[in-house]
Symmetry: C2
Subunit: 367 residues, 2 copies
């Protein structure tokens, strides 16, 4: 089998699962009647972006914005607050004809954008309860930030954006739907506040993978952003957002040792190959650093990466497992906790289609 020939550790991306995940999110957006602006921070791959099939995309770094612009995408939202020192670099994208939306959450940052003299479209980031970046919808700083934008341009206020990252704190569909409604109400309230003050608000952007899939109402939103749904991971599985057999991304690994005294099999997928994210453990503490699977990506009952060092994944065997089943050299696949973090350690994806290894797709890492 071809999976026996790759150097390990490496990424395997199951294209059938990828396509099904893309279709599921698209159906959810159609059901809600809202446009999807996929967040490509997870895949960072032009080939994945093309399969996603959206004209409008979201990125998390300027390097991603440049990479996807090189690949022909022209409608890009850079959904991380911009530092004034990055405006020149971002301006080069605008000069190339990219319809670039950038993000601010302070009056000072808004003024710096205006002073750049570049025709940016600007979104004000709103905190809908996640507690990451953004201005609370009822905070007077929202209007103060908007006031930085005069009518003379060329930079202009385009809208508002929020992210319900706190939807990751809940593992049932009703709870996520409730947070989706809070997210919607918060960002619509911010948009209404600005409209009441006379600002034209085009973009009302919300989204996270859980809320985009489980929301019951998108009234007032112009778009949903979501990223990790293309791959899914154990983090999402542990929260009931997907099943294990939806997870499209895995790490191919090889058994490299046995520690019989400690009852452990050692893999060549450690902290660098899997990342040290343990997001799934909040709801499934047994997951550790990933779910160990056979070469067909079927989870092996009770087998997880229990701890990691830099280049070692430690797998503690249970009473139903035997060292003889995991000889040195055996290959396995690991479903990671958090696809965005794990994929970042690699330069490419090995594509598996209908069980056969095919193309290699690139990635754009760094900043």
């Amino acid at each position: 089998m071809a999976l026996e020939t790759l150097e390990t550790p490496c990424l395997i991306l199951d294209r059938n699962r990828l396509d099904a995940n893309i279709a599921r999110m698209r159906a959810s957006a159609e059901r809600l009647g809202v446009r999807l602006r996929p967040h490509l921070k997870t895949a960072k791959s032009i080939e994945v972006a093309r399969r996603v099939g959206a004209d409008a995309i979201t990125v998390s770094t300027l390097r991603e914005a440049e990479y996807f612009a090189d690949g022909g995408f022209t409608d890009i939202t850079y959904a991380v607050g911009i530092a004034p020192g990055r405006l020149d670099r971002a301006g080069k994208l605008v000069a190339r004809g990219v319809d670039l939306k950038i993000l601010v959450d302070t009056p000072d940052a808004a003024r710096a954008v205006v002073e750049s003299g570049i025709a940016f479209k600007v979104l004000i980031e709103v905190d809908c309860g996640d507690g990451r970046a953004g201005i609370a919808p009822d905070d007077p700083r929202l209007l103060e930030t908007a006031a930085a934008f005069g009518s003379e341009g060329p930079a202009r206020l385009d809208g508002v954006l929020t992210h319900a990252g706190h939807s990751y704190g809940i593992a049932d569909a009703d709870g996520v739907a409730r947070i989706a409604e809070e997210e919607r109400q918060a960002i619509v309230r911010a948009a209404d506040t600005l409209r009441s003050a006379g600002y034209a608000i085009n973009t009302v952007s919300a989204g996270s993978t859980p809320t985009a899939l489980m929301s019951r109402d998108a009234t007032g939103l112009t778009e949903y952003r979501a990223g990790v749904y293309v791959f899914f991971d154990m983090d999402q599985q542990s929260r009931g957002v997907c099943q294990e057999d939806d997870v499209a991304l895995s790490v191919l690994t090889t058994v490299i040792g046995h520690n019989r005294s400690a009852g452990k099999v050692l893999l060549d997928a450690g902290g660098l190959a899997l990342s040290k994210d343990t997001g799934a453990n909040a709801f499934r503490p047994e997951v550790g650093y990933g779910a160990v699977c056979d070469l067909d990506a079927r989870p092996i009952d009770g087998l997880f990466v229990t701890s990691v060092s830099q280049e070692h994944g430690h797998v503690r065997l249970g009473p139903s497992h035997s060292f003889e089943d995991y000889p040195v050299g055996r290959r396995l696949r690991v479903l990671p906790n958090h696809a965005c973090m794990t994929a970042a350690a690699y330069e490419s994806y090995n594509i598996l289609e209908d069980g056969a290894l095919g193309a290699v797709w690139g990635r754009c890492n760094g900043w």
Copy 2:
């Protein structure tokens, strides 16, 4: 100041601190009368390797071995158990004239090495209590593994190797010295067992940064391996192995937003830029994802990266801090938890020497 001109996030490596850390470890090895075989898994950089000034080195991946061989190093120990499928690739290094030592911890892996017909020098990995890879020193599998090596070669048994990773579980010098002594006794016992059975044992290799610095006796060891000491990090600082002003590696970051309601300043160094390692938190729970410093790398009292998302570092301000002191655009430096994990997200180091920015040194990532 030049640090204002770099794209962030990026790595800053203080060469004065690097040199002092290298000198300190060299003095410790001289005191103990044992050779140092630095572990280059932390720096993965030929320029750092040259400053370390050792002829014999340790690596954690074959890609590192190839990279350092390209840079002229010929005495290399690949200190992670080798899978049989990697023997051909490793053999190419032997064919190039590299004196390559590889690692096994099962009789099957040893037999696979012998059957390769390649002139590898082989070390048997011994578990001295860390519980990672290796055979317990009194386990009969030690002799069983050695028995795979006949006298006819070309692969031959060269020695034994262990790593006291559990020295990271203790934060006082006496405790680490006790583990260093356990490490020494375990690996010397394994060597003696093999010698008593008639095997010539050349290499008796031990080491971790804490034990290599705090050991009081290296009798019977031929070398100490240590890696993270070149940079140090908050993980080591939290355990008393170094001081904050020894930490040579930092992440340069920019303030990108304010969340006044949540009391947070947002940085552009998040989970990808810092890694999700939280090793220092076992002894200093306040450290979170890193210690926030000014541009001279002076820690700011009470300021830490309290949480991270992919591209956001969240810094919760305390009663003594003010948002006005951290405007959007201000640059800061973050001392990371675990230098090995953090550095892996970057392609290069920006070298700071006597406070001035100078050369850019490369890194070798991936596998």
